[in-house]
C-alpha cells in the first residue's frame, strides 16, 4: 500500500478506533437508537462541512456559515409561520443563502479581499441581520399543515430513519460526484493547488472562487432549514460557533487548509468523530463546560497524529 493510500485511510481508522473506545466505556453507545441519534445530530454540521470542504479545497475559508444558517433559518420560520407552502419556503431560504455566499465570493475573488476577512465581515453582518430580522426573539414556525410538513424535514422519519440523515447522504453523494466525476471538481483542485497556473491554463479562476462560496452559502442555508424545522422555531443566536465545528470536521478529514489536497469523504468522517465525541460526553454526563475542553483536546490530538 502506498503512503498516500495510508494517509487517506487514516481518518476512517481513527473513527473506528474512537468508536470502539467509546463503546467499551459506555455500552449504550452501540445501540441502533443511539447511532441514529448521533447521525442525526451530526447531519447539520456535516452538511455545512461539505460546503466548507469546497471552499477550503480552493485555499479559502468560510467563517460566515453559522450566521448564514441563522438568517436563513429565521427567513424560513417566518415564511412557514405566514403559511407559505414548504416548496416556496425551501426555494426562498436556499436562494437567500446562495446569494449571500455568492456576494461573499465576489468580495473574495473580484474584490481581492482575503477570505478570512471577507467571510468575517459576512459573518458579522449576517448575525446582525438575523438579530434585526428576529427582533432578537425566537420566531415560531407556527402550526398548521405547512408547518407540520416543514417540521418533518428536521424531525420526521422515513422507514425508521430520520429525514436529515437522508439529506446528509444526498449532499455527500452529490458533493463526491461533483468533486471527483466532473470537470468543475478538477478545476477546484487545480485552483487550490496553484492559482496562477490555473489562470494560465485558461480557467476562470474568479468565477470558480465565487461559486465555491455560493455552494457553502447554499449548504449553510440547508443546515439552517433543518435546524429550524427540527425545533419548529428559529433562534436569533442559532449556529453560533458552527463555522469552527465545520472547519474542524474538514481538517480532521485530512483536507489541507492550504488548499489543493483533501477528500470530501474525509470530511464526513471528521464530522462523525466530532458528533460521536459530543454524544459520548453527553451520555457520560460530562458537563457542557468540560465538553468544550475535551473537544478541543481531541481535535488537537487528531491533527497532531495526522502530521507525519
Amino acid at each position: 500500500m502506498t503512503k498516500e493510500r495510508i494517509n487517506q485511510l487514516k481518518p476512517i481508522i481513527g473513527l473506528i478506533l474512537f468508536s470502539m473506545v467509546v463503546s467499551i466505556i459506555n455500552p449504550r453507545f452501540l445501540t441502533i437508537y443511539n447511532i441514529l441519534n448521533v447521525l442525526r445530530q451530526t447531519s447539520i454540521n456535516s452538511i455545512i462541512a461539505a460546503g466548507m470542504t469546497f471552499v477550503i479545497l480552493t485555499g479559502g475559508i468560510d467563517l460566515s456559515v453559522g450566521s448564514v444558517l441563522a438568517f436563513c433559518g429565521a427567513v424560513s420560520a417566518s415564511l412557514v409561520g405566514a403559511g407559505q407552502p414548504v416548496l416556496v419556503v425551501l426555494i426562498i431560504a436556499l436562494l437567500t443563502g446562495s446569494v449571500v455566499g455568492l456576494v461573499t465570493g465576489i468580495i473574495v475573488s473580484r474584490g481581492k479581499v482575503q477570505a478570512f476577512i471577507a467571510t468575517l465581515v459576512t459573518m458579522t453582518i449576517m448575525r446582525g441581520a438575523t438579530l434585526v430580522f428576529t427582533q432578537g426573539k425566537p420566531i415560531d414556525a407556527g402550526t398548521g399543515r405547512a408547518a407540520d410538513a416543514f417540521a418533518g424535514l428536521g424531525g420526521g422519519y422515513l422507514l425508521g430513519i430520520p429525514v436529515p440523515i437522508y439529506i446528509m447522504v444526498i449532499v455527500y453523494v452529490l458533493a463526491w460526484y461533483t468533486l471527483h466525476q466532473t470537470r468543475f471538481g478538477r478545476y477546484i483542485y487545480a485552483l487550490g493547488g496553484n492559482e496562477e497556473a490555473a489562470r494560465l491554463s485558461g480557467l476562470s479562476t474568479l468565477k470558480l472562487k465565487t461559486v465555491v462560496y455560493g455552494i457553502s452559502g447554499f449548504l449553510a442555508s440547508l443546515g439552517g432549514i433543518i435546524l429550524t424545522a427540527r425545533l419548529s422555531s428559529a433562534q436569533p443566536t442559532a449556529g453560533t460557533g458552527y463555522e469552527l465545528d465545520a472547519i474542524a470536521a474538514v481538517v480532521l478529514g485530512g483536507t489541507s487548509l492550504a488548499g489543493g489536497t483533501g477528500r470530501i469523504l474525509g470530511t464526513i468522517i471528521g464530522a462523525l468523530i466530532i458528533g460521536i465525541l459530543n454524544n459520548a460526553l453527553n451520555i457520560m454526563n460530562v458537563s457542557s463546560y468540560y465538553q468544550m475542553i475535551a473537544k478541543g483536546a481531541v481535535i488537537l490530538l487528531a491533527v497532531l497524529m495526522d502530521r507525519k
Partner: protein, 497 residues
C-alpha cells in the same frame, strides 16, 4: 596537484526512497582548496547526495569523514556547525530584511541586555561583503537586490558561519553573464582562502572554467571522478547520459507556410510597440537579456496583460485576447518558464495536469467526465512525448524536471494549438531531455505549427530557429534571419546597440 588534503570523504553512501534506489554505494570526496563539480542528469542523485551532506536527509548506509575522522551529520544546523553550507538554487533569504540582518539571522551579536549590536552587525557584514569584492550595502533591503547580488549575500552568510565547504546548486541559472563572471571570481578567491567548493551545474562549459575535478553520477551511482583537465565536453555528456549524443542542435528545413499571426504596434503595460509576424511551420526565437520583456511579450499575446494599443491578426482576422482562456480558444498556448510557480500543479496527477484545459470536451451525461476517452488521450501524449512515469496517475511533483517540462508541453498540445509559445523550454532539464525537446519542436514545426521559442541560451536559438527577434527594454530591437544570427549579432541587439 594532489598535494591538498582531503577535506570531505563520503564512503559507500546508499539511500533508498520508497520504490527508488536514489544512491547506491556512492563514493564522493572533496579536497581542500579545490572546486569539485558534481554532475549528472536530473534524477541522477546529486540533490540527494548533497541533502545527506547538509543534514537534510539521513543515509541508509555508508559513512562521512571530515578531515579524516568519521562523523555523523544529524541536521542542517549540525552541518553548518561542522562547516558545511549549502546555497540552494532557490535562495533562502528573507526579502523584507536588510542584507546584514539576513547574514546574521539567528546569530545576531547581542548586548547582555539582549539588544542587538547593530553597529557591529553592519560592520561585520560590510567586511564580509568586501571580502567578496562586492559593493552591496549591508543596510539595503534584500528584495531590492539583483539575483546575483542576493547570491553574494548567501555566500557572505556562509562565510560568516565559518563554512569550510560551500555547496553551490545551479548558481548561475538565473545570473547574467557579468554576474556569472563575478561569481567565478569569488569562487576562485574562496579557493585561495583554502575553502572547498562543490559546484553543481547543468552548464557543462562552466565546469571547464571553474572546476578542478568532476564527479559524475548516473542513476545513483558514481560513473567517474576525474580531473577536469583530462576531460572534454563530449566525454562528460557521454558519462552523464551513458551514450553518445550528437551535440549538434538539429535544424530542419521546412517550406514556410502562410502567415499565421500578425502583430502590429502592440503595446501593453509591459510591452512597447511590438510588430512582427509568424508563419505556419516556423520556429521564431525571441532573444534578449533577463528583464528585457520577453516573457511579458509572450504573456501579452496570451492575454495575461491586456493590450492597450495595436492589433493582433490571426489568419487575417483581427482578434482580441483579453484572458488566457480566449487565447487558448484562438489556438494560442503558452508554456511557462516557471514550471513550479506558474506552470504545473505539483500535487495533481499527470492526467489532471494535461487534461485541465480541455475537460469541457470530455463531458458526458450529467457533466460526468468521460474517463475512458480522457485516459486514452492522456496515454497517447505520454507516449508521444515519451514521458517517463509508472502511469498517468503519478503526481507531477514526483517527476524529474525534463518530464515535468514534457507534461507542461503536453498540456499545451492537447488544446490543438496553432501557435505554441515555449518560454525557456530547456531550463533545468538535463542534456538528454534537451535533445528530446529539440526533436519535438522540429516535429511540431514539420506538422505546420508556428512556434515561438524564448530562450536565454543563444546557441540553442541559433541552432533551432528560422528567425530570431531580439528584445531590449520591453520593445523589439531587431530581427535576425537564420543566416545572420550569431551570438555577437544577437548580443549587440540585446544590449541596444
Amino acid at each position: 596537484m594532489d598535494t591538498g588534503q582531503i577535506f570531505l570523504e563520503m564512503k559507500n553512501i546508499s539511500k533508498e526512497f520508497p520504490g527508488v534506489k536514489a544512491l547506491d554505494n556512492v563514493h564522493f570526496r572533496v579536497f581542500q582548496n579545490e572546486v569539485m563539480a558534481l554532475l549528472g542528469e536530473n534524477g541522477a542523485g546529486k540533490s540527494t547526495l548533497m541533502n545527506i551532506l547538509s543534514g537534510a536527509y539521513k543515509n541508509d548506509f555508508g559513512t562521512i569523514e571530515l578531515h579524516g575522522s568519521e562523523c555523523k551529520i544529524v541536521s542542517p544546523r549540525d552541518a553548518m556547525d561542522k562547516g558545511i553550507a549549502i546555497i540552494h538554487q532557490e535562495l533562502n533569504l528573507i526579502p523584507e530584511l536588510t542584507v546584514g540582518e539576513n547574514i546574521f539571522l539567528g546569530r545576531e551579536p547581542l548586548y547582555r541586555s539582549g539588544n542587538i549590536k547593530w553597529k557591529q552587525l553592519y560592520k561585520d557584514s560590510r567586511n564580509l561583503l568586501k571580502r567578496l569584492n562586492t559593493t552591496i550595502n549591508p543596510v539595503a533591503v534584500t528584495s531590492g537586490l539583483s539575483i546575483g547580488d542576493q547570491q553574494m549575500v548567501e555566500i557572505a552568510k556562509a562565510l560568516s558561519m565559518d563554512a569550510e565547504l560551500l555547496i553551490l546548486d545551479e548558481p548561475t541559472d538565473a545570473l547574467t553573464d557579468t554576474e556569472t563572471e563575478s561569481l567565478f571570481k569569488v569562487i576562485r578567491e574562496l579557493k585561495n582562502y583554502g575553502k572547498s567548493i562543490v559546484y553543481i551545474s547543468h552548464r557543462i562549459p562552466e565546469v571547464f572554467q571553474i572546476c578542478d575535478r568532476a564527479t559524475v553520477l548516473r542513476d545513483g551511482t558514481v560513473i567517474g571522478e576525474q580531473r577536469v583537465s583530462e576531460l572534454n565536453e563530449d566525454r562528460i555528456i557521454e558519462m552523464m547520459v551513458g551514450r553518445k549524443l550528437d551535440d549538434q542542435i538539429p535544424y530542419i528545413h521546412n517550406k514556410k507556410g502562410p502567415p499565421l499571426l500578425e502583430v502590429n504596434d502592440l503595446s501593453s503595460s509591459v510591452s512597447k510597440h511590438i510588430s512582427f509576424s509568424i508563419y505556419r511551420g516556423e520556429v521564431l526565437g525571441i532573444a534578449g537579456l533577463m528583464g528585457s520583456g520577453r516573457t511579458e511579450l509572450a504573456l501579452t499575446l496570451y492575454g495575461n496583460y491586456p493590450a492597450t494599443e495595436g492589433v493582433i491578426r490571426l489568419e487575417g482576422k483581427d482578434i482580441s485576447i483579453s484572458n488566457p482562456g480566449k487565447a487558448i480558444k484562438n489556438g494560442i498556448v503558452y508554456v511557462s518558464e516557471d514550471r513550479k510557480q506558474l506552470g504545473l500543479f505539483l500535487g495533481l496527477s499527470i492526467k489532471d495536469n494535461i487534461m485541465l484545459p480541455v475537460l469541457q470536451e470530455y463531458e458526458k451525461f450529467l457533466f460526468k467526465t468521460d474517463t475512458m476517452r480522457s485516459n486514452k488521450e492522456v496515454d497517447s501524449f505520454i507516449n508521444l512525448l515519451s514521458i517517463k512515469t509508472p502511469g498517468r496517475n503519478q503526481l507531477v511533483g514526483n517527476l524529474s524536471g525534463g518530464n515535468q517540462q514534457k507534461v507542461s508541453i503536453a498540456r499545451g498540445l492537447i488544446t490543438n494549438p496553432k501557435l505554441l509559445i515555449l518560454d525557456e523550454p530547456t531550463r533545468g532539464v538535463d542534456v538528454g531531455a534537451k535533445q528530446e525537446i529539440y526533436k519535438l519542436i522540429n516535429r511540431f514545426k514539420a506538422e505546420g505549427l508556428a512556434i515561438i521559442m524564448i530562450s536565454s541560451e543563444m546557441p540553442e536559438l541559433i541552432g533551432i530557429c528560422d528567425r530570431i527577434l531580439v528584445m531590449h527594454e520591453n520593445s523589439l530591437s531587431g530581427e535576425l534571419a537564420r543566416s545572420e544570427a550569431s551570438q555577437e549579432s544577437i548580443m549587440r541587439l540585446a544590449v541596444g546597440m
